[in-house]
């Protein structure tokens, strides 16, 4: 009996005008296009320089900034008011004002003669922009001779007396050395692709059987509900694995990213996630009478799950109540585990917590889904 049902699902899947193409396009789009689109690396910050010094030193500072690649130099202007006007008109994201004394008294304790003004309407762009400018200035100071530069470096940070001891802060980034945002996003995008496909498709499939009335015909046959549903899920499991495999392949072929941990662990977590999302899809299809309803409800949950999963914004920086909500978000666990395995090479023992979270949510959702399915059959 199972053989015939699975055969039917595959035939229907491949006969559908859109689904097979979607299953192929989705991973390609996810891995080739989205890492660029969702990149948080800020580039092309419009920088205005008000240079009162017009010295060799100031020219070198400006060059250091533009050479970093983050800034786009807007034609220099000569007064602070003019620069402010440009910022008001949204033509400038950042303004550097260089005092006339620049280059002569960078060494003394009266402060560093450079002013920075940042447009923080876009908070991320603003704070990253100021970080970049500061690091450019630091780089300039490092380059311009050890004695003078080091002292001035201290002045930038402490802006206090020259008597403070020299502190060197050295930074080293682990696991993603170059802070490549794309590398950070690839495992998360795999998470989104798999979740979307395995939540939407089975639910819509079941709702469409409700709409055509074929589910009623199946209900009068000896096919058990569990068999019917499991057979429906199997093709989507296949699709999810296909998506995972092709995403990993594309990430390796195009970006040269490889999974640091075990690929088997990735597949294991994908399986757990499928149980949760497919159960959720089924649950929603039980309570929906038509495709629009199901679509909207799934879209609603997908939205919340994604925004509160830590995929785009760190969970640690969410307020307490929001953090509490993320504990019942399956994507939180899935994304965390996928990133840990892919970027750090964590083993199952390291991410057992995520596996447990997914398993508990999955058990809850599936139990609810099956019991509500029985009830709807008796209405």
């Amino acid at each position: 009996m199972w053989k015939y049902l699975i055969e039917k699902e595959f035939k229907q899947f491949f006969r559908d005008p859109g689904l097979p193409r979607m299953a192929v396009m989705f991973p390609i789009l996810m891995i080739l296009v989205f890492p660029f689109a969702v990149s948080m690396d800020i580039r092309n910050i419009s920088l205005v320089v008000v240079d009162h010094s017009m010295s060799m030193e100031s020219a070198r500072l400006i060059e250091t900034c533009t050479a970093s690649g983050y800034f786009r130099l807007v034609t220099g202007c000569h007064s602070a008011a003019e620069a402010q006007k440009m910022m008001d008109d949204n033509k400038a994201d950042a303004i550097i004002t260089i005092d006339s004394g620049f280059g002569k008294d960078t060494g003394n304790s009266s402060g560093f003669p450079v002013g920075i003004k940042i447009n923080t309407v876009n908070g991320t762009k603003g704070s990253l922009g100021s970080q970049y400018i500061l690091s450019c200035i630091r780089k300039y100071l490092d380059d311009s001779g050890s004695g003078q530069g080091a002292a001035a470096g201290a002045a930038v940070q402490a802006a206090g007396t020259s008597a403070i001891p020299q502190i060197e802060v050295s930074e080293k980034y682990y696991f993603n050395e170059y802070m490549d945002y794309k590398l950070f996003m690839v495992p998360a995008l795999i998470v989104i692709a798999i979740t979307m496909i395995t939540a939407f498709l089975p639910a819509l499939n079941i709702v469409s059987e409700k709409e055509t009335g074929t589910i009623e015909q199946i209900n009068v046959t000896p096919v058990s509900k569990t068999a019917f549903i499991v057979c429906k899920m199997i093709p989507y499991w296949g699709i999810a694995f296909f998506i995972l495999a092709s995403c990993l392949l594309i990430a390796w072929a195009v970006f040269g990213y490889t999974c640091k941990g075990s690929i088997l662990a990735l597949f294991l977590f994908t399986t757990l996630d499928i149980v949760v999302t497919a159960g959720l899809g089924l649950l929603i299809s039980n309570y929906s009478n038509n495709a629009q309803q199901a679509m909207f409800v799934i879209w609603f949950f997908a939205m919340i799950f994604m925004l509160m999963s830590g995929i785009f914004t760190p969970i640690a920086s969410m307020p307490e109540w929001a953090r509490t909500i993320t504990y019942i978000n399956p994507l939180r666990y899935f994304a965390d585990a996928m990133r840990a395995i892919f970027l750090k090479g964590s083993s199952l023992a390291d991410v057992w917590y995520d596996a447990a979270g997914l398993a508990v949510i999955g058990a809850g959702v599936v139990t609810w889904a099956i019991s509500s399915y029985r009830k709807s059959g008796d209405a």
Binding site: M1, E7, K8, K11, G213, Q217, V220, T221, V223, A379
Partner: protein, 249 residues
Amino acid sequence: MDNTGLNAMEIRNLTKRFGRFTAVDNISFHVRKGEIFGFLGANGAGKTTAMRILCGLSRPTEGEGTVAGFDINREQEKIKKHIGYMSQKFSLYPDLTVKENIRLFGGIYGLGDRKIKEKTVEMLDMLDMKDVRDTLAGCLPLGWKQKLSFSIALVHEPQIIFLDEPTGGVDPETRRRFWEMIYEASMKGITVFVTTHYMDEAEYCDRVSIMVDGRIAAMDTPGRLKEKYGAADMDEVFRIVAGRAKREE
């Protein structure tokens, strides 16, 4: 007298309530093996609810009975193995071909590959549908779809077949041919339980029951019903009996 051997269905005091609404109100009847039993009633009289219970889709609130020899309260899955069901709505898979639909339902009833192949040849031959065997079922004309649904409902040679308004929306000629198929099935000893809104079809039944407000208001052969109500045809009988309904749809 024990009629178990002779009856395909025996229902006693069947009641189904939804909250405070009693859809089916204490009905009892039996259907003999090989009989064509017409189950009539206006919309909302409780026909569909009763039929769902008989097919094992729903449990009765009260009452007991057997369908194909199995208990309607406890052996629903066994009932499903021994009945066929065809609804007014076309419910084969429109995106599977004629042949694939036969194969799927044959497989679901546990026929096995070899038996399915034999059945397919036999059915396509009987339905005269050999030329369209690889056509998607959704693309067939309505009359053909219904003939195909009917044959597929019989694919596992069930003891009883339930037909829920099987001829809704088809032309008189197709309806007549459909009833020929029903007679053929009945000749082979299959019990036919059919609901319909066409009173000329009610005349073709061996016996009919008319449901009004959840109860069976009349049940006998069409001939005796006409006699009893002094009516010229079943249409008149139905209007007299169903006209006493108090319940709105």
